[in-house]
Symmetry: none
Subunit: 215 residues, 2 copies
């Protein structure tokens, strides 16, 4: 059952045993795990081995450790996995073009999702944005961010935030009158639920931004 001085990968075994322990003892999110020293004794391994397993889980965002307090099961729905892998991945495929395209893909899909949903497309927030667009200055990213959030896919939201950081921020600018006009049409288009024309408006807006990038 317990691979002791066997070949390789004790710490992986510990990771699994930790998972089992969490399940068996019904450790709730935010709940406390046994201390490193106690785990070492219970699992019959050295503390350093326990730590290697714990540190791995911490890097994955599965647990959280607070010096002087202990180790806690963290809310893994905020998995920082994405951030981690992104630092490794984005460095390699550093083509700005790819980042742009991928981000636009996510944005388009969010627009679609809202458009075809009866509830989301009639969300009161669009009305407040319509008022804003008509009366004050609006940041480009503000409205896009809201669309991604409302479309309710946390993973997409995470990725989008990351890509936005790498993208060199044309979204930090204020909208021109022309852009505002497009967005007013777009938000109104939500209510009609016409996917194609809504997407066309979004693409139209993208074209404005891109032409600006060139100049």
């Amino acid at each position: 059952m317990i691979p002791k001085n066997n070949s390789s990968k004790m710490f992986l075994e510990i990771v699994k045993q930790l998972r089992d322990l969490i399940n068996e003892e019904n450790v709730a999110v935010g709940g406390k795990l046994p201390s490193e020293r106690e785990l070492a004794e219970r699992l019959q391994v050295g503390r350093s081995t326990v730590r290697e397993a714990l540190r791995s889980l911490e890097l994955l965002g599965l647990i959280e450790t607070r010096r002087g307090e202990g180790t806690f099961l963290s809310d893994y729905r905020k998995h920082q996995l994405v951030e981690l892998l992104s630092t490794f991945i984005l460095q390699e495929s550093k083509s700005k073009e790819d980042v742009h395209k991928t981000r636009e893909t996510l944005e388009k899909e969010a627009v679609r999702t809202i458009c075809v949903s009866d509830t989301l497309s009639k969300h009161s927030i669009w009305d407040s944005f319509l008022i804003k667009l008509n009366t004050e200055e609006v940041l480009r990213e503000d409205i896009i961010r809201e669309i991604i959030i409302i479309s309710d896919n946390r993973l997409t939201l995470k990725i989008w935030f990351l890509l936005k950081q790498f993208a060199g921020e044309p979204y930090k600018k204020l909208m021109s009158l022309e852009e505002k006009d497009i967005w007013i049409q777009l938000l109104n288009s939500f209510k009609n639920g016409d996917e194609v024309s809504t997407i066309n408006l979004y693409i139209q807006w993208l074209a404005i931004i891109q032409s600006e990038q060139i100049s």
Copy 2:
């Protein structure tokens, strides 16, 4: 620059420094990293701290260690991250759904990209797939993967590979006759460049897979 005996999270710092080291020294996939003892000396930390960082990266599948040989940069899309995280985390139905939806978004966009491109939509590979579909068994993921690859966005490709691992592999199955029929239509539809009907075929195919998941 170097946070020495500072508060908390030294090993996270080491993770970053390792990433930088890999980039600076241009360690290729499969290439060898410095030994733990050498890293400890170079980064001016204890060996156990280095190990905690390395073990974390190993659990992520970013590196591979072989006792007696050394530590090697591995192909990140391998390794057990999958089953571990799926047993730990992705039980959350919402997370699962988010992963699915995001993956489908990327796939749809790849289909669109190919469809609207004169060059890509006429790529000879689609003809060979048509033959394959008519004559032999085809894995679901094979054809999807090719579509993502041809659509030529490396970032999307990387994200897609990761998501695919999380998805619990309905894509590892062979296509039914019904599915093959849809794909034959879809590939033919590439040549017509009709985006809407092509996407509809893809969505039709998704529906088949989803209905199978339920049963």
